[in-house]
Symmetry: C2
């Protein structure tokens, strides 16, 4: 599955230090960084799907420091080279990468690990409900895993 | 125990949403925000103490989304109104606050929960070893809990 236009996966370092690890997130000069608006966490219970949401302005930078989260992205931008395509990626400490998502892509995610699943979003603008759209899960047809 | 000069505790919201919570971190206009340099996680195993470290330039903004972390701060700045004092605060989801730490304060922390303990630092500058000092644990006398 190729990357959608405007989506970037950046491998990140986990530094093994005595007594606990240090996990990189994002730096001001990193690929995909587009300014700092807000940092917040979402937790998602095992098996739960949160979908679908689309931002008009916010660039997402997503990292999963605990558990595993499966992200599904859908591109319905008519002018995009990846129009009509999906992209799926599961992030965790064993696939420790940053997922950068451009505005106007539909995003859904599912908790995969049986424990706690946490994502951090380093968002380019602060949360503003008026720049986001939501669609019910069944409005975009996708075969989610159980 | 009063706050040291340059230390700020800001209560944050945990928003209960179906299937998982949303936990606030920091916004660009929040108290204590001092620009974005880097975001990284540190994990600290149960009972482990990581101490001491002091930054000359970096402002720390610390949040604990999983587990519990006890932070101990020590002020040895002769010109400070809190010179010679310690400040201790344990952050977790049940005391969900952001801890802002000015440069030149000594910082140590300990993993408190038996599970995973994770802190996020939204740092005002990217990591740069030359702006930080370290001292061995026993060099600053403090009675850590077991």
């Amino acid at each position: 599955m190729r990357a959608l236009e405007g989506v970037l996966l950046t491998p990140l370092r986990i530094i093994d230090t005595p007594g606990g690890d240090v996990l990189h997130g994002i730096k001001q000069d990193a690929p995909g960084y587009d300014g700092f608006g807000e940092a917040y966490f979402s937790t998602v219970n095992p098996g739960v799907i949160k979908a679908w949401k689309r931002h008009h302005e916010m660039v997402l930078n997503l990292v999963v420091p605990e558990g595993a989260v499966c992200f599904v992205l859908f591109d319905d931008r008519p002018e995009s080279i990846s129009f009509g395509e999906f992209q799926k990626v599961t992030l965790s400490r064993s696939n420790y990468q940053r997922l950068t998502v451009a505005p106007m892509l539909w995003v859904g995610f599912q908790g995969v690990s049986e424990g706690t699943n946490i994502l951090l979003n380093i968002a380019s603008i602060p949360h503003r409900p008026d720049e986001a759209d939501r669609l019910a899960l069944e409005k975009i047809e996708y075969h989610w895993e159980n």
